[in-house]
């Protein structure tokens, strides 16, 4: 795997200058490779991982299971792409099993999310049914533990 991509996969938050040092290549080359990864649609972008419950920002998240009718020729793709374009949709996956799409939806209030489901999602042609589950509490977000203990250095500062 390309070393820049490998460091991105490891999930640290290194700057381009730090990636350059670790990978042993010039910073300009790191930036070039990052651009190339973006062009190739491998690296889609950066996003902060936030626990908004601590910021007193109200956000409602739901997971929605969607059953739908596949189209001749295009399967689920056309409809899935159409659903993905709604701003409320954070992530959208085609699944194996009892339903077809799993959608993560985000909205400022319960009513907003509910109206998205009832007025937008379930009214789309091809959507057979939806099953909505509201998220109650988060324990881990994007690989970060929500209740991680304080990062005090547990290791002795010098040891043999």
């Amino acid at each position: 795997m390309n070393p820049v991509l490998k460091l991105l996969v490891e999930g640290g938050h290194l700057t381009a200058a730090q990636i350059a040092q670790v990978a042993g290549i010039p910073e300009a080359e790191v930036n070039r490779q990052l651009e190339q990864l973006k062009k190739d649609r491998i690296f889609l972008g950066w996003r902060p991982v936030l626990d908004l419950s601590r910021a007193e920002a109200t956000a409602v998240r739901a997971v929605i299971e969607v059953k739908m009718t596949p189209e001749r020729g295009g399967g689920f793709n056309r409809l899935a792409e159409r659903i993905s374009k709604f701003d409320e949709v954070e992530s959208c996956y085609l699944m194996s099993g009892a339903y077809d799409l799993l959608i993560f939806v985000n909205g400022p209030s319960l009513q907003k999310v509910a109206s998205f489901v009832s007025e937008k999602l379930s009214t789309l042609g091809g959507v057979l049914s939806t099953s909505t589950h509201f998220l109650l509490r988060s324990y881990k977000e994007g690989s970060f533990l929500i209740e991680a203990p304080a990062e005090d250095a547990e290791r002795l500062k010098v040891s043999p």
Binding site: E10, G12, V22, A23, L156, K157, S159, P160
Partner: protein
């Protein structure tokens, strides 16, 4: 009260790391490259196995030798990775880390005054462990020019009548030195010729970067005269579990077990249960950690050389051992100066014996960001410390 302390204990030198630790531990915002353990937490599946064992009420003694299930897993692991086959029933002993295993082996083998060859610079406990077992430790130098590998010729020179044991540690703490097969074969011939028992501490053997690790115990004629010492601390990031093992001929393992049963009884059962999990499902995690150490090694070696500290790429472990001679400072002055001026901790080479004079040990068991910052600071310190070049006379 001093008069009550046994002479051989009173005579032990103060640890070269201890006083340094005292200073560092009182300072704030130090980037420490002085730590001899992984920065990775023990993989969760291993910790979870220990918790589960506790929940299941596994809180009793185990067999003195250790859980048979663990000894079987160790036997399989050692045969697959090191090619030596040991019977789980009587050739494997589970210990409280390799440190205990070394102590057991020396106490089981040495009569007062028996001599022990060990290479230096080396891990801080070797010389004291020999002294505590009433042996006489004979240091054999390893050199930077050889990548701190051990040469049979140096063993020949250091050998004296009365030598009974040879202790080796490759990959080596503090130098990161490894030993290639050609050198190991010569050392093996030397050990056979001199009728030595070998204690081979291979605690860093999963962490090699340039070529596969070869065990001295796998050399011709060595299995029957070698105690292979290994553990879980470094590769599986399990230092605090204190769990290791010794494999060797049944008579030697039996002798070590006698000392173990009267001093330790058995290794803690929770650590043994965690070790079973580590061997069953931990190898992918080891591979990931090794890859990260590898990249960090390359980063630190490149940066230290660029900063003017000659530093070869260590073949294994997670330490670099650069020469600091070019700064005109001694290794203790360098380490204290770097700590005071730039708040970076490295360990003076002489903490690992006289052979470490003119070197420092820097551990790269630390995250990338910290390593980059530490290298920047070391560079600033070296630039400020270097004696000005004499003006050219032409």
């Amino acid at each position: 009260m001093k008069r009550f302390v046994a002479r051989h204990v009173a005579a032990l030198p103060k640890s070269g790391i201890r006083d340094f630790f005292e200073i560092v531990s009182k300072m704030k915002d130090v980037i420490s490259l002085g730590i001899g353990e992984p920065d990775f937490d023990t993989p969760w599946h291993i910790r979870e196995a220990a918790i589960y064992a506790l929940e299941k009420g596994k809180t009793h003694y185990t067999s003195n030798l250790g859980l048979l299930e663990l000894r079987r897993a160790i036997s399989t692991y050692v045969e697959r990775n090191y090619t030596m086959a040991y019977r789980p029933e009587d050739e494997v002993l589970v210990t409280v880390g390799v440190s205990e295993a070394i102590d057991l082996a020396l106490r089981a083998l040495l009569n007062p005054g028996d001599k022990v060859l060990y290479h230096q610079p080396c891990y801080v406990s070797y010389h004291p462990s020999v002294a505590l077992a009433h042996g006489v430790a004979l240091a054999v130098p390893t050199r930077e020019a050889d990548g701190f590998a051990l040469n049979a010729e140096d063993l020949e020179r250091a050998w004296q009548p009365g030598c009974k044991v040879l202790m080796v540690n490759f990959p080596c703490n503090p130098t990161g030195g490894t030993c290639d097969r050609a050198r190991l074969e010569k050392i093996a011939r030397f050990a056979v010729e001199k009728d030595l028992i070998v204690l081979s501490d291979e605690i860093y053997s999963e962490l090699v970067y340039d070529s596969a690790h070869t065990s001295l115990a796998a050399m011709p004629g060595m299995r029957e005269r070698t105690v292979f010492l290994h553990g879980f601390s470094k590769a599986f990031a399990m230092t605090g579990f204190r769990i290791g093992y010794a494999c060797g001929p049944a008579e030697l393992v039996e002798a070590m077990m006698k000392v173990h049963q009267y001093s330790m009884l058995c290794a803690p059962i929770l650590s043994q249960e965690a070790a079973v999990e580590a061997l069953a499902r931990g190898e992918d995690g080891v591979k990931e950690m090794r890859e990260q150490y590898h990249r960090r090694r390359d980063l630190v070696v490149r940066r230290l050389n660029a900063a003017g500290l000659p530093c070869r790429a260590p073949g294994g472990a997670f330490y670099v051992f650069p020469s600091i001679a070019s700064t005109g400072l001694g290794d203790r002055d360098f380490a204290y100066g770097l700590l005071q001026a730039q708040s970076v901790a490295v360990v003076p080479g002489t903490a690992f014996g006289e052979g470490g004079k003119g070197f420092v040990r820097a551990s790269f068991a630390t995250g990338y960001e910290q390593l980059v910052e530490a290298c920047d600071r070391i560079e600033r310190f070296v630039n400020a410390a270097s004696p000005c070049p004499a003006p050219s006379s032409s």
